[in-house]
């Protein structure tokens, strides 16, 4: 009887030890990452269940550049980076006809995603959409890969590879894709002077003269909302604008205001890529605005009913200021480039 008790104890102790061992197998090896940005940037919202870590970011980076993400899905052979080039502020200069690709920059501060806001919420939400709907990621491909299971374990302490973890890793990477070192930023911090042209353009931008700031205000240069800026006067149901999502006729012809950070690198412009240059964009606001019932009141305010009516010099200066928003460090930083 005594020896039977000893056997039970031995078995129990073995069972506990093996449990502990199994947990250790899936233990995270993640180190916190501190993302630095200027104090005039908004507070970065990071979900408690997905803090930034070195390992999580590196995993997200790898997934971003890896076509393995799309194997067997509707976009087979593509990775995020196939349509988002770092040299173009993670957009693409030659998008499919009648479209343009929003740049992947400072999306950690966004809550409306895609041109019509099809997905709202956090980066984790939009990444879940990318994983499950856009790429239709085949988890088995990742599970059977020689490297990924170990990377997921290190980043998240989980041996169970799920859509949610893929989305979380990508979300961490997108938070890391932060741009805050343009000439304008250095000017804001008293580190560099803007030229006279740029300064004058900045005044046009931030006053009623150009009134760019309402939709493209400091410091992100987007208000992250939807506007009808008078590109068209007739609603086309085939164009998937904001009303396609909300069903509201008041949202017709509205699209998300994109960030203007690095805007000189993100042509073509507008949701349908109709403008090839910044000069064309400025001329639209200056003289090409078309009225419709949902046009933003800012576009037709008293005195500006027929456009901004800027002089040629003012238009040139405005473009010069827009080019001061380019963060060359961001587009050349090897930390943000492909790990392959």
């Amino acid at each position: 009887m005594k020896s039977f008790r000893w056997i039970i104890l031995l078995l129990l102790s073995f069972a506990f030890t093996s449990c502990e061992k199994e947990e250790n197998l899936c233990e995270a090896n993640a180190h916190p990452f501190q993302l630095d940005f200027p104090d005039y940037f908004p507070i970065l919202n990071v979900p408690n269940d997905n803090p930034l870590t070195e390992e999580g970011i590196q995993l997200g980076r790898r997934l971003y550049y890896d076509p393995l993400l799309s194997i067997g899905g509707p976009n087979d052979g593509l990775s995020c980076s196939s349509c988002h080039f770092q040299s173009n502020s993670f957009s693409v200069p030659t998008p499919p006809q009648n479209s343009s690709v929003l740049p992947h920059v400072n999306l950690g501060w966004n809550h409306n995603f895609l041109w019509n806001g099809k997905v709202t919420g956090t980066l984790e939400d939009i990444m879940m959409f990318e994983v499950q709907e856009f790429f239709e990621v085949d988890l088995d491909v990742l599970k059977n890969h020689g490297t990924y299971p170990e990377l997921f374990k290190d980043a998240f302490g989980s041996c169970e590879l799920t859509d949610e973890l893929v989305a979380k890793a990508l979300a961490q990477w997108f938070r890391r894709m932060k741009s805050s070192n343009s000439k304008f930023d250095r000017y804001q911090q008293g580190l560099e002077q803007l030229s006279n042209e740029e300064l004058h353009g900045m005044t046009v931008f931030f006053t009623e003269k150009g009134d760019c700031f309402h939709c493209h205000g400091l410091p992100l240069f987007t208000n992250n909302e939807f506007h009808n800026i008078g590109l068209d006067s007739i609603y086309d149901p085939a164009v998937k604008d904001r009303s396609y999502i909300t069903g509201s006729p008041y949202d017709r012809l509205k699209f998300k205001a994109p960030t203007l950070r690095n805007v000189e690198l993100t042509a073509p412009y507008m949701h349908d890529g109709r403008f090839a240059t910044l000069e064309e964009v400025v001329e639209h606001y200056n003289s090409g605005v078309l009225r419709s019932t949902t046009i933003d009141p800012i576009m037709t305010k008293p005195g500006k009913e027929y456009g901004l009516q800027l002089t040629q010099q003012e238009k040139n200066d405005l473009v010069a200021f827009l080019k001061a928003l380019t963060d060359w460090e961001f587009v050349n930083d090897t930390v943000l480039s492909s790990p392959f």
């Binding site: 900045m202 006053t207 205000g217 400091l218 509201s248 019932t293 037709t300 008293p302």
Partner: protein, 237 residues
């Protein structure tokens, strides 16, 4: 000896009274704005209201700041309950929380529509997305928008948008609601906000004559003056 006793007694009473004051009961009040248009519940995004000028209009965006909450005692002494500024978004149903509210009977409350001058400097409010979205450019005076009130209205030519934006320290409005209430427990209060009052009383705002106010000081001052009649205390704590 008698003087000494009196002195000691006075000191003890003073100490006790002081001690009592320190232990004064304090509560938390939740303030919920109730949006309506002359009594009609606010439904966003639909042209279904009419203002004093006769413009049929909708409300698509209403974001604003209330600040510097004070409760007025019967002796007219104003207890500053919270000197901070609260961002509020009608679409989000934002509520405000006033902490450390002293117990007492009050004959009314006061607060500012807008942001006090010391806080109305970019960076002096926490850099939340909401505050950053209300920034008023330095080139136009700096600080923050006090209010963005936007929507659509039926005009003689069809449908147009309006954008009533107010900022600038001169447009800070001191609101008084002379409705008595008691605070003796944690609770909530409902402040009614009649949106038609933004557009009337004393200044009637005709959207056909102007659908935009930012940077137009006379128009912003008129809107600011109208705010005095826009708020009521609908539910006391």
């Amino acid at each position: 000896m008698r003087h000494l006793s009196l002195l000691l007694l006075s000191a003890t009473i003073a100490f006790l009274l002081h001690g009592c004051k320190k232990d004064e009961l304090r509560y938390t009040l939740t303030v919920t704005p109730h949006y309506h248009v002359d009594g009609q519940e606010l439904i966003l995004d639909t042209i279904m209201y009419q203002n004093a000028a006769g413009n049929p209009y909708s409300v698509n965006r209403l974001r604003y700041y209330l600040s510097n909450f004070r409760f007025v005692r019967s002796d007219n002494f104003e207890v500053t309950v919270d000197g901070g500024a609260y961002f509020t978004d009608a679409r989000e149903g934002t509520t405000l929380t006033l902490q450390d509210v002293p117990a007492g009977s009050f004959k009314g409350l006061r607060f500012n529509f807008g942001i006090p001058a010391d806080l109305n400097v970019y960076g002096n409010l926490p850099n939340t997305s909401e505050n950053v979205g209300m920034v008023w450019p330095e080139q136009m005076g700096g600080g923050y928008h006090f209010m963005k009130f936007e929507g659509y209205f039926s005009s003689p030519t069809g449908t147009d948008g309006y954008a009533i934006h107010v900022g600038n320290n001169a447009c800070l409005a001191d609101i008084t609601i002379a409705t008595p209430f008691d605070v003796d427990a944690d609770g909530s209060m409902i402040i009614g906000f009649n949106l038609n009052e933004i557009l009337a009383n004393p200044n009637t705002f005709d959207m056909d004559s102007g659908n935009y106010t930012m940077g137009i000081m006379p128009a912003m001052l008129e809107i600011s003056a109208n705010m005095h009649n826009a708020f009521t205390l609908e539910q006391t704590p």
